[in-house]
Each structure stands twice: as structure tokens, then as C-alpha cells.
């Protein structure tokens, strides 16, 4: 092959390259478009298939074929996008969107999703989360934890001697003679006598709310009582109160973020809605009074019950 034919052939190959064809034609169209567009279609009838739509169509193709589409495979995808858009607009022009409950709900839902995205994506700063954590210590297990022992006096076993028996035992315990035997001194209760550092909600779960409420106020280091619970009477030795400190944000970040968002979700939704609602003047037209039997059968019937079975 001569040098020249080689060059010609290269040019021919190049000219056959679809990419080049696209580029040249596209460039020409781009330059000419301002001149011709108004003759092709009025502005409201212009359809632009965006790069984003193209990308989505390509991605969708990839999901099923696991490869990118060839140009001739891309064309039907583009056509489909165009057809959908054309028919959608024609439908809109005919007013088919109006009075359609599905579309109404769908659009409302999309708006809700937008708010939801705002909530999910508004990544609150650590400072914001820290403030939230400080304001809701009790929700993140940050209350005091108490190391204590308890001796139980069962009212149904001590009867009228309950108070006296308790006072006597208390005096003996604080005399420090070392005689402490839970098996003898404490009545039966399926709850431990000795508690390691325990959070108050866990104390409440095992000994009831009354006991848990009284416990943190007890002095440290000697037996006190009587402390009452739903079970009866207790003598209590608080050994140590590990004061409540908020857990490090790093420790409970997930939970704080979750609760912060749950709280803010309601607020943001409400704020957003009220802002939009304020734009409207609303009047409500009541239907004429219903005929007496209008709701009778429906009322009985619609009060359905869980898991109910087979219809007629």
C-alpha cells in the first residue's frame, strides 16, 4: 500500500467512525439550533432527553445485560424515553392528571420523600448532637449507676413485727459485728442481694418504681432503712453512686442521631406543611345529611378484626 492510499483509507475509516459522525452532526445541529428551533416546535413542546435520563436508561440496560448497550441498542431506549415523555405531555394536556387519586397521592408522596431526604441528609454536626444528648441524658442510659446491697423483709412473714424487726436488724448491721448472712437475715426474693453498678431503670425493673425512686437519695457507706418497694421493706447499703455522665457522643452516636432525627422528623414535616398550607385559603363544603341507613351495613362490616378468615 502506498503512503497515500494508506492515508486515504485511514480517513475513510475515521469517517466511518460513529463517534465522529455523531460529533460532527451534533456540532452542526448545535450551531444551527438557535436558527431553526422555533420553526420545529414552540418552546413548550421541546423535549430534551437529558444526560441524566440517558445515564439512567444505560444503567437499567446494564442491570439486565451486565454490559453497556451498543449504539443500536441505545436507540430504542432513547425512543422509549421520548415516547413516554410525549404521551405524558399529551395526557397532561388532556387534563388526565386532574381528579386522579393515584397521581394526587403519588405526588404528595414525592413531596414527603423530599422532606424525608432533607431530614436524612441534613447531617447534624457533632455539636448539634452533643446538645441533643445533653438535653436527653435519661434516654441514653447516662443516669447514675448504683452499687448497693439490699436485705428484704417480707411483710407477710413479719406481720406486726415488721418495723421492729427491721429496726433491730438495722442497728445490728450498723454495729459492724460482721454478722451478715443473707440466708438468715434476708427473706426470700428472686432478686439479688448484691448489685454491681446498676442503672436505675434496671433497678426499677427488678425492685419496682418506688424502690428505684428512693435509692439514689440514700447516704453512702452504711445500712439505712426502711426503704419500701412493692414487695415490702428493705434495708439498703449504698456502696457507691457512679454519677450519671452523658456517655461520650462517639459511643452512642447512632442512637443519638436516630432519636434526633425521629424528633426532628415530626417538627420538620409539620413546619414544611404549615408553610405550604399558609398559602391556601381553605373552605370546606359539607355533604347533605346522610340518609339514615347509609352507613349501617358498612359500619358493621368495616370493623374487621385481625386475622379473620375466609370470606363467603
Amino acid at each position: 500500500m502506498t503512503r497515500q492510499t494508506e492515508k486515504k483509507s485511514r480517513v475513510r475509516t475515521l469517517l466511518r467512525e460513529p463517534l465522529l459522525q455523531f460529533t460532527v452532526l451534533g456540532g452542526a445541529l448545535f450551531l444551527a439550533w438557535p436558527l431553526i428551533q422555533d420553526k420545529v416546535a414552540p418552546p413548550q413542546n421541546r423535549i430534551v432527553i437529558t444526560a441524566q435520563q440517558m445515564q439512567r436508561a444505560t444503567d437499567y440496560f446494564y442491570q439486565t445485560h451486565l454490559r453497556a448497550p451498543d449504539p443500536d441498542e441505545l436507540q430504542p431506549l432513547i425512543e422509549d424515553e421520548i415516547q413516554t415523555e410525549v404521551e405524558f405531555r399529551e395526557g397532561l394536556a388532556l387534563g388526565l392528571d386532574r381528579d386522579d387519586e393515584i397521581i394526587r397521592r403519588r405526588i404528595k408522596q414525592k413531596l414527603d420523600f423530599m422532606t424525608e431526604d432533607v431530614i436524612e441528609q441534613a447531617k447534624p454536626s457533632d455539636a448539634v448532637l452533643q446538645t441533643y444528648l445533653d438535653g436527653h441524658r435519661d434516654r441514653f442510659g447516662a443516669g447514675p449507676r448504683i452499687v448497693f446491697s439490699q436485705i428484704f423483709l417480707d411483710p407477710s412473714r413479719h406481720g406486726d413485727h415488721l418495723a421492729a424487726d427491721g429496726a433491730k436488724l438495722l442497728a445490728r448491721l450498723n454495729a459492724g459485728d460482721g454478722r451478715l448472712d443473707y440466708g438468715v437475715d434476708s427473706d426470700t426474693l428472686p432478686v439479688p442481694n448484691d448489685f454491681e453498678a446498676t442503672a436505675l431503670p434496671d433497678v426499677a425493673a427488678m425492685l419496682g418504681t418506688e424502690f428505684a425512686a428512693a435509692l439514689p437519695a440514700q447516704p453512702v457507706g452504711h445500712w439505712v432503712g426502711p426503704i419500701h418497694s412493692g414487695y415490702g421493706m428493705h434495708l439498703v447499703l449504698v456502696r457507691e453512686i457512679k454519677p450519671g455522665k452523658p456517655p461520650e457522643l462517639a459511643e452512642v452516636r447512632d442512637q443519638v442521631l436516630r432519636e434526633y432525627q425521629a424528633d426532628r422528623r415530626a417538627e420538620i414535616n409539620q413546619e414544611a406543611y404549615q408553610k405550604m398550607r399558609a398559602k391556601y385559603a381553605i373552605s370546606i363544603q359539607l355533604p347533605p345529611p346522610a340518609a339514615p341507613d347509609r352507613y349501617k351495613p358498612a359500619n358493621a362490616a368495616t370493623v374487621g378484626m385481625a386475622d379473620d378468615g375466609v370470606p363467603k
Binding site: G141, F152, S156, M206, G304, A306, P311
Partner: protein
Amino acid sequence: MNTGLKSALLLTAISVATIHTGRADTIAAKPPNTKDGQPYSIPTAKTHPIRVFWGDAHLHTEFSFDAGLMGTRLTPEDAFRFARGEEVVSTTGVPAKLRHPLDFLVVTDHSNYLGLPVALREGDPAIVADPAGKKLYDGFKQGGEAGFKLFADLAGSLSSNTPLLDTAPLLKSTWAKSVAAAEKYNEPGRFTAFIGFEWTSMPGGNNLHHNVIFRDSGEKALQVLPLTTFDSEDPEKLWAYLAAYEKKTGGQAISIPHNSNLSGGLMFADKTFGGKPFDKAYAEARAKWEPVAEITQTKGDSETDPSVSPDDEFANFERWDKTNIAGSQDDKPEDQPHNYLRPALTRGLRFEQELGANPYKYGLIGSSDNHTALSMVAADNFFGALPDAEPSPTRLNHAPLLVTKGRKPLPPPSEMASSGLAAVWATENTRESLFDAIRRREVYATTGTRITVRLFAGWDFKQGDAERSDFADYGYAHGVPMGGDLSGAHAGQKPTLVIQAAKDPDGANLDRVQVIKGWVDAQGQTHEKIFDVAWSGDRKAGADGKLPLVGSTVDVDNATYSNSIGAPVLDTAWTDPTFNPAERAYYYIRVIEIPTPRWTTIDSKRFGVALLKTVPPAVTQRAYSSPVWYAPSGT
């Protein structure tokens, strides 16, 4: 393996898991300890459980077709937040909060039509594009009778092989949401959010419902979709599904039957779903996949029935014993022994004698089955099982639910029981620890109050052992806890049960502790007997051998009671006087509270409406322990 390779593999695992769960931070189980090495919760240094964890293994949200279509608008996330103790606003706008948060919750939405109410409400394009979906959508939108028709069609289709519409895409996307909610709220050491679903089988309107609970995180649970009854109504197929799950993922899952009381005799039918006699393999599989059963819930109690246990003066408690769950079939007397757990436990012994395995080896739990996303069962804080029964001045008089021509109406909201709870003796509050305790049956049920019950059975216990200060250490060392097995009695030995029971510390005193024994004799005859073993005050058994009732302090007009009767704690060491080492037996504990106002009585007072004559003004709340089983050795 070199470190680089290891971390590359780890990264791959993480990214795969991330795709599955959609949340990178929920993949690895978080360590239950805080960073200074302290347990987050109460001390857990002991290897055996030191406290009960309270929960609900059965709750529906708006994802359930029935709950959602009947108005429930609360989500699984709401359900978990509420159970953890946060305040939420109910579907009907009533603020709700628990007095004591739960320690764990399983959201068990129906797998059939999972997520459909939300899809219909939102006009999900995937659903309304389907003509069948559009029809449902139109019916739903129209409400009234059309809405009811839609609901009835949906419920009815559960018994068919074909759903009314193709729900596969919805099942997948809703399952992902359901799993994500549990992942989000699961906090090892503080609150356990299990992944689960309900498999709602009800051939002919007879209740064969089961709840599936996964031990694992979303990474494993998302490798499967919930089984529906369109796939099969046969519980053996459910077990096959569970087995396949375990094989595929290396995880664990179990299935918990509920509302046997509404099963038309089908739950404990003594033959397979296909009508074949039980064999050993069947019995073993059933005991493996169904280690526990739900004995009490809002739609009635399933312990036993007066017709089955005529000598049991406490048997008539919150019964729903007129029809099956569809109201399509009256309960026949011969079906009742197949509807309740006590007679089933007893017949299980006979099967074990014949087959070498016990198909009805059930531990016992309670749960709510509420369809409001609110797990509330306290009589004085009861939001009903459906939005229709949330607190209102009219709820006591709401009509019977689902009135269908030619069918018996099911009981009205006022006949719902404010029940129940699942109590788990576990070492710590994690999915793994709680699940393992359920699988080994170290669990019990209450009808809504927080009664503590602890039981050990052994050969060497003696008087006084129930009062030891090291009761639990000693009990585990010398016996088996509830849910356990005893065997190998030496000549002359009798089993002794050591029992501690304590009242709800924020509730009513206890009347008595009973041991319920079932056994089968050499002729294959089954027996049951109730022993009063500990009680308050100095009551003595009458000539008929029965302990007098404790009395009642209930002031019906004011809906109050007083703890001036009963005892806060009851304990005993009880040796079976009727023990025959050749006879298989089980023993479970029933703890009875003093009478307290029923929730309807409290409602009458609070709303100033007339007391109902159709329900008792007071009830005796109770706890049912899992049994301990005895088998002769070498069998």
C-alpha cells in the same frame, strides 16, 4: 493468611454486607460492653441468668395487611421506639407510653401481603399498574362495604395458593424495610430488636399461625424472603424453610405457634397436616423448630378450657372458645383437647412413649398480638389490639368485629384480654442470649403483669432450698431450670421442685403457686393434676382437697384493689407425692395473683360509662412457667 489479604477479604465482606443491609454501621454486632469494659446493663458476670428480660414476640404494624387496612398508621420504627420506652402518638391520636419499657420486641407482620396497606395508601405505581392491584386500590379508596369486601377477599385468599395480586416485589422491598427497622433499633445490652415475621396459615379458617424469629442480624435475614402461605400452608414446609435458612446462612431461626384456641382442633391435631400419623422424625422436627408456644395473648388464653379441665377452678380465664378464628366453624367439644396447650403437653408424653420423641414439647411464652404497633398489655394501660379498640369512651361498646353473614361474630373489643408478656431468663439482653434462652425453653408467660417465677427441679433438693440466698447458683448446680429434662430416678427417688415466685413489684400480691402435673401411665392413659404448693395466709385445704379462694379486695365502682390480702413472695420446695419412676411426666408452675379489676372495669371508671355485664369485673392475672419434663432412664 497475611494481614493484607485478610483485610481485603474483610472489606469485601463488609461491602457485600453493606449492600445487603444498606447500613454499614449495623453489620458487626456491637460489643455489649462500654469502652471502659463495663457491661452497659446490669452485671452479667455470672454464667447463668440473674434476671428476667421482658418482651413481646408478636406485634403487628401498618405493614400487616389486616392492621394497615383497619387503619393502623404506625410503623415498625414506631413499634421499636415505643417498646424502648419512648412516647409515641397512637393511630387514633392518643399519646402512649409504657410504665416500664420492654427489654425486647419482635415485630411480626404477616408475610402474606406484607406492606400492601402502605402501597395501597400511597398508590404505589407497581401495585396500581397491576389490574388486580388497581381493583384493590379502588376498593380501599372507596372504603365502606367495598373496603370490607377487599379485606375479606384478602383474608380469604390466604387459604388459596394464589394471592390476589403479584406481591413479590412488595414482599422484597417491605422485608428490607422491616429488617432495617430492627437493625436500627437493636442495641446489644440495652434493647433487643429481633427480626421476624408471621406465617399466617389458616386452612378453612382454622388458626395455624406461627411467628418466625431470627437469631441473626440483617445480613443473614436478608438472604431470604419471608415464607408466605401462598407457598404452603403446611407447617412442615415452614420447618423446611427454617432448615434451609440455617443451612444457607449458618444462622438460626425458630417458629412459635399461637392462638391454638382458635384452631378448630387443628393446632394439636395428633396427625400431620397431610393427615398422616406422627412418626419419630416428625416429632423431633416439631420439637426442634417449635421449642415454645404462645399460651396467652389478646385473642384469648390457650392454657386449657373448662370443658377439658373441669376440676380446674382457674381454667375459665379470658376464653375465646366458641369458634375458630374465622368464625366459620363452631368449636366442637371433641376439638377442645386439640385447641389447648395443657392437654397437648400431656398427649405429647404419650407420643413420646410410642414414638421415642415428643412432638408437643413446648415451652411457654405470652405475647400481645396487638395490631396497633403498640405493645401494651397492662390492664390500666391497655390500648386494645386494633385502632378500633384504642382508648375512647365508646370502645367498650364497639360492635363485634367482622360481622359476616352466616358466620358467628368474633368477640367484640371488650372481650380482648390485656395479655400477655414473654419472660426470658437470659444472661444478657442480646439477640443471641435471648434467642438461646427461648430455644432451651428457659422462658415463661404472664398474662400482662411482671410476676417473677423461678423453678429448678432435681433429685436432691430439700426443704429450705427455695429460701437459700444462693438459690440460683444452687439450683443450676443441683437441678435443671424450667424447660429442662429430668431422667434417671434411682430407686425410691422422687423429683423435688424448688420454686420462687414474686409479685409484680408495681402490681398485685400473689394468691397461690400451683404445680400442674401431666403424666401418662403404662396403659397409655393420660392424666393431669393440679397441686396447690404455696399460698398466702394460713388457709387450709377443705375436705375436697381444695384450697379456699383468697377473697377479693376489688372495688368495682372505683376500679381499685388493695394488697391487704395475698403475699408478695411465695416459695417452696415441693416433692411429687404421686411420682412413679416408670411414668413420663411434666410439671409446670402456675402462679395466680389476687383478683384485680379487669381493663374494662378500669375503662368504665375512667370514661364514666356503664360496666359491662358480658365480661367479669375482676380477673386473676397469672404466670405459666415452661414445664420440666421427666422421662424414665434408658428411654
